[in-house]
């Protein structure tokens, strides 16, 4: 058997250890994994938005520039460089994000609202993004998209547009991105923490219960929260398992109790007989008789032992596989016939009253054994208290869709108050038995009845004891019974 890591289950742990344990939980690890996935998704989604927004804005800027250029080129075509300069001068004075610059071939400022632009930009015609400074301020901190043309005579024309608006939007998106990722991470960690500690609490509770059970509290059961989640399902399956184990344990304990109880007396007797034979000088005949008595006691012991073993086996639910349809009436007749002579010898009348065709799904041997035990008990304990001949009746009939079997005697019976007690003692097998032998025999009967999914009741036979057994009818027979009832109702 594997040793359980008891230290890991220690409930009196430090806070750090608890946090560490929390991080190790499956719930927390799952939360972290989900968190990573969500963050990645948020990242991708916002990135996509930002990228698209930028593309749209860039397109807008470029098309504005295109429109300006078209206008300027019309002016240039209509009125040459002079007209262009006049228009540029006028437009430069208008407030806005549009940028204009006309320079000489050497780069000297002719007209325009751009004060500074890198010389390399002016030297290469075409579109580019650059830093620039406005002519009305010293700051160079602006950025723009510009397009440069070379005009006849080496003049350069720069048309552009400030990208501040676009950059601001980008900044806004970036901030939103950061905030939302931070929120996702924070909420994820908190959620994971909560989920993990909730699960951990329940698992800890389970662990504690399990430890208590391991320590010997076999009646302990895991708490079922009742919300039907997977932990609940696990807990209730484990509880069912514990219940079954407990049942088997109780059965075993009862059997060992019983073995101790039932075997002690005959063992003592056996030992005393052997002892006595040894102590006294005896003739070979006396020794032989003593030995035979010892063997007889031994056989009795074997018999009790077999019965106890059989009860244990039946309680464990084996032997269910060899059941076949059995005519209960015929079985009762058979056992009745077996016991009739013995009953007569002991001053009883034994009668069997059996309906025909009461068929149950059963093991013939076990039912025979149960019947034999019931008749045997009736013979042992059914002697009428007032004297006179005892009467034992074995009855088999069909009632309410069940096969019924009753063995009744005319003995002193069992007082009503004690009947449940006696029945309870079947389950636990009695500890103090007033009538030796009754326990094992009836316990075996009860075990057989339970194996056949039946019930056993003790009733007053007025006077006497009436043991009533109900067994489920065999499938085909149950249909027949229903048909019969219908016929009778007509």
């Amino acid at each position: 058997m594997n040793r359980l890591p008891i230290d890991a289950l220690n409930p009196t742990e430090t806070g750090a250890a608890r946090v560490q344990k929390l991080f190790r939980t499956t719930a927390f690890k799952l939360s972290l994994a989900y968190l990573a996935i969500f963050t990645l998704c948020a990242f991708l989604a916002l990135g996509y938005v930002a990228w698209n927004a930028r593309a749209v804005l860039d397109d807008q800027i470029v098309s504005t520039i295109d429109a300006e250029i078209n206008g300027l080129s019309e002016q240039y075509n209509a009125g040459g460089l002079r007209r262009l300069i006049t228009v540029v001068e006028r437009r430069s004075r208008e407030p806005g994000a549009s940028l204009y610059l006309v320079t000489t071939a050497g780069g000297d400022h002719v007209v325009g609202n751009v004060g500074f632009v890198p010389a390399a930009i002016l030297a290469t015609p075409g579109q580019s993004e650059t830093r620039y400074g406005r002519s009305d301020s010293d700051a160079e901190a602006h950025r723009a998209i510009v397009r440069v043309f070379t005009l006849p005579g080496g003049f350069r024309l720069l048309v552009g547009r400030d990208t501040e608006e676009r950059d601001r939007l980008r900044a806004v998106i970036g901030r939103a991105f950061g905030t939302s990722v931070a929120a996702v991470v924070l909420l994820g960690v908190i959620g994971g923490w909560l989920a993990a500690s909730r699960v951990l609490r329940r698992v800890d509770a389970m662990t504690q219960t399990t430890r208590a059970i391991m320590a010997g509290d076999l009646d302990g059961r895991l708490h079922v929260a009742g919300n039907g989640d997977e932990l609940d399902r696990l807990a209730s399956s484990l509880n069912q398992m514990l219940e079954r184990i407990g049942e088997l344990m109780r059965g075993m304990r009862d059997v060992s109790d019983n073995i101790a109880h039932d075997l002690k007396t005959p063992l003592t007797r056996l030992r005393n007989r052997a002892d006595e034979a040894l102590r006294r000088p005896s003739t070979p005949d006396e020794l032989r008789a003593a030995l035979e008595a010892v063997i007889e006691e031994g056989d009795g012991l074997i018999r009790i032992f077999n019965a106890l073993l059989m009860i244990a086996r039946l309680e464990a639910g084996s032997a269910r596989e060899i059941m076949a349809p059995l005519d209960l009436g015929a079985a009762a007749q058979g056992v009745g016939e077996l016991y009739e002579a013995l009953a007569e010898d002991q001053g009883f009348t034994l009668a069997v009253a059996a309906q025909d065709g009461v068929v149950v799904e059963a093991n013939r041997e076990l039912i025979g054994q149960a019947l034999a035990n019931l008749v045997d008990n009736a013979l042992k304990y059914g002697v009428p208290s007032g004297g006179g001949p005892g009467r034992i009746v074995v009855a088999v009939w069909r009632e309410d869709g069940f096969a019924r079997l009753a063995v009744s005697d005319s003995g002193p019976g069992i007082p009503e108050g004690e009947r449940t007690h006696v029945l309870a003692r079947f389950v636990r097998l009695e500890q103090s038995r007033s009538r030796p032998g009754l326990g094992v025999g009836l316990s075996l009967v009860n075990a057989v009845v339970r194996l056949h999914r039946g019930t056993l009741h003790l009733r007053d036979n007025e006077p006497g004891l009436r043991v009533e057994v109900s067994l489920p009818l065999a499938q085909g027979d149950a249909v027949g019974a229903a048909d019969l009832d219908r016929l009778e109702a007509r």
Partner: protein
């Protein structure tokens, strides 16, 4: 079947097997095996033993044994597989299976595997001896058609007409008494135990916990012996019953 009309000397233990049986005991518990070998030798039989399934199988295949006594749980090859293999190899030696698993279904499994009888542990040696002798006798008798008439001393049983006579006088018997006598006569001279009677006459394999069989036997005995000087059904203490004619009385 050989008729046992000749008187034979009773064994002090009640075992009346005249020939000696050759037995093979396949049992891994060495103490139990040694006890059985000794006990069988003391009752006049020859017993070998094997301590695991494979050895047992080899011995059972080559040796000419009258009966094999096989424990169910054996190392290397379990008892049931051993019996099944023997039967597949057309070895027809009677097998008595011994088992600590004394459940009804275990007995059924044992017989299905090809065993001829099944005895749960713990058992009384007298029970094992009686059953082994019955198996050995059956082996001797096998091959010949079942007799329709049994005769032991002056007692005769006709299986066809269901008539029983002693010294020519008819004895009326109930059907169950007839079957009881039939079984006792088929095993005349052999000890039959109470459980053997319960199994073969009533077809029950459970333990009746009382002397229920004794009453039936004593009633039968009463009917058979009434008016005759010598009893024909004898009680063997600690074992069971034997039907035989006492020395010097039978003719």
């Amino acid at each position: 079947m050989t008729m046992l009309s000749e008187p034979r000397s009773p064994d002090p233990r009640g075992a009346l097997w005249t020939g000696s049986m050759r037995l093979l005991i396949i049992e891994d518990d060495r103490d139990a095996a040694a006890y059985l070998v000794k006990a069988f030798r003391e009752t006049g039989h020859v017993a070998d033993c094997a301590h695991d399934g494979l050895d047992g199988y080899a011995l059972a295949r080559e040796g000419a044994y009258d009966v094999l006594i096989v424990d169910r749980m054996l190392p290397k090859l379990d008892g049931l597989s051993l019996v099944r293999s023997l039967r597949e190899q057309k070895v027809a030696t009677p097998v008595l299976i011994l088992s600590a698993l004394g459940q009804v279904d275990d007995r059924v499994k044992g017989l299905r595997a090809g065993g001829d009888d099944y005895l749960p542990k713990p058992y009384a040696f007298s029970e094992l001896l009686a059953r082994t002798e019955a198996l050995a006798r059956r082996q001797v008798g096998s091959g010949t058609a079942e007799e329709t008439r049994y005769r032991v001393g002056d007692l005769e049983l006709d299986r066809l007409s269901h008539r029983v006579t002693r010294s020519g006088r008819e004895i009326p018997l109930q059907p169950r008494e007839f079957r009881l006598l039939e079984y006792l006569m088929r095993h005349a001279g052999q000890v039959v135990t109470r459980t053997m009677l319960l199994e073969h006459v009533w077809d029950y394999h459970f333990d009746p916990q009382t002397n229920v069989i004794d009453v039936h036997v004593s009633r039968l005995r009463g009917k058979l012996d009434k008016g005759f000087p010598s009893p024909i059904i004898h009680t063997v203490r600690g074992a069971g019953y034997v039907l035989r004619v006492d020395e010097g009385v039978a003719g």
